[in-house]
Symmetry: C2
Subunit: 298 residues, 2 copies
């Protein structure tokens, strides 16, 4: 399948629903909501929501459940966006640019950026538990909440960010690098795929396959991100290139070298394809997405 037009079409679909679900920047809290909207709508590939939708369609074979899966997909994007806002803060990575535009705190100030992140994280759970989306059984929705909270929480994304920062500029062993990335970026990507499956009523075997796929592409995604940071220009990336090396960050290329890192990313994609063996035609977009991850340029 042609991945580029598919991604573009899916990105638009996700953004349409994000626009529908997200609060309007009006009324008493318009300034905060404006800051939330700024980062949510500044662009982005919408990889996590697209994965979530694709996983649900792989399970049921068509897009008929999209309306029910969209709150989950959009909650994923809210959480991803909050994590970017907080990661960019002066106290954290201190980045001025994100997706080619000034970072949230550069536009709204540090305090509002912290709150915009807090607001997006909380809003994600508001969306997941919204009574308007009651078509999905309550048990499945609770399980989705729990899967996402675990993946985003102290033993997942937040823990990974803390561990990453604590080890900046240090020589760390490969196992620790894996732990950092599995928690910091891998957990949420895996959760996107798993929760798409849960929303579509996947059985235990299907969920295991989807989780295996998610883990593999999560790893591939991170390695390629590290590689791009070394090999691209700032213009290509839309954020500061070479910033990892400058910050003394532990990365796959820094630890294993460029060649070995490329091989590992390719192996992970092969593993992702293997994980989906029991799925038929309906998982084609998930397969194409895995391949795209290693071939992307930003």
């Amino acid at each position: 399948m042609e991945i580029k037009p598919y991604l573009e079409e899916q990105r638009r679909l996700v953004e349409e629903y994000l626009g529908r679900f997200m609060l309007p920047a009006e009324g008493d809290f318009s300034r905060l909501v404006e800051a939330m909207r700024y980062s949510l709508f500044v662009g982005g590939k919408r990889v996590r929501p697209i994965l979530c939708l694709a996983a649900s369609r792989a399970v049921i074979g068509d897009a008929s459940l999209d309306g029910q899966v969209m709150p989950v997909a959009c909650a994923m994007e809210c959480i991803h966006t909050y994590s970017l806002i907080h990661d960019d803060l002066p106290a954290m990575d201190n980045d001025d640019l994100r997706r080619g535009r000034p970072t949230n705190h550069k536009v709204f100030g540090e305090a509002e950026a912290i709150l915009a992140g807090d607001g997006l994280l909380t809003f994600a759970f508001e969306l997941l538990s919204d009574p308007a989306f009651a078509a999905t059984p309550a048990e499945a929705r609770l399980r989705i909440c729990h899967t996402i909270a675990r993946a985003a929480g102290p033993l997942g994304m937040v823990g990974g960010q803390s561990l990453d920062m604590a080890n900046e500029g240090k020589d760390i062993p490969y196992d620790l690098l894996r732990t950092i990335h599995r928690s910091k970026t891998g957990a949420l990507i895996t959760a996107a795929v798993e929760t798409g499956g849960i929303a579509a009523g996947a059985d235990a075997t299907q969920l295991r396959a989807l989780a295996g796929y998610g883990n593999a592409i999560g790893l591939a995604f991170q390695i390629v991100d590290d590689l791009l940071n070394v090999e691209s220009t700032t213009e290509q990336l839309g954020k500061a290139a070479g910033s990892d090396a400058e910050a003394g960050k532990a990365t796959y290329p820094a630890l294993l070298g460029l060649e070995k890192s490329r091989t590992m990313a390719a192996d992970a994609v092969a593993e992702a394809h293997r994980a989906l063996e029991s799925f038929g035609e309906s998982a084609e977009p998930l397969r194409a997405l895995a391949t795209y991850i290693v071939e992307r340029k930003r």
Copy 2:
């Protein structure tokens, strides 16, 4: 009833469960978890969880559901604690002291404090959706999630904090002051009472009564907080006294004067008592709590 021994006993009960639910500070993410635990266990009155438990007992008449309500009560305290950590940050209120001890960022640094807050907020939803607490019907648990997310989110606590900061040092009308406090502190207090009721299977009339009670004590609580900031010493408060005036914050005493503020707080407590008229003996702790709020010294 004797409120002081009741509060002490309830505080201990809540802390016992907090200790049981909260992650141990060990393993890969021990530093982050340590930062989360520092602020969670540094002390505090545990007002929100105590209200949550008291509301559930008012509905069913005894403490037999405590085990099921505790995850909700403890999630409330996690969210309250996260909000204090973020509010204290240099970019926000820049406070060095909280509950008589150095604030989170003073001990763990700004980056870790931001993440500790993020971790506590996310962990709250992990707790609320934890499959271990499946005795409460899934529909009720989703409704609890939603009530808490709304109260803590951009149209609730986070929105209130943003609005509060945007109006620092400004002369604001009374309506705006009410909106700030209703969202910043009132919403979560009301949610504590409501979700205790939902967990106990309260009907619509009971929930309306509990929400009315929650709104009234939320207002009383904030007015008294403002009054204490003016009238107490730093030693009595365990945080910097007079800091509101110094920061040019809009407060009830600043806007209405001390006398009128005291009257308003007393009126709100009377309203809280009226809201509970349909409840019998079992709501006695809620009534005593309302009275205690205006009489407390810190």
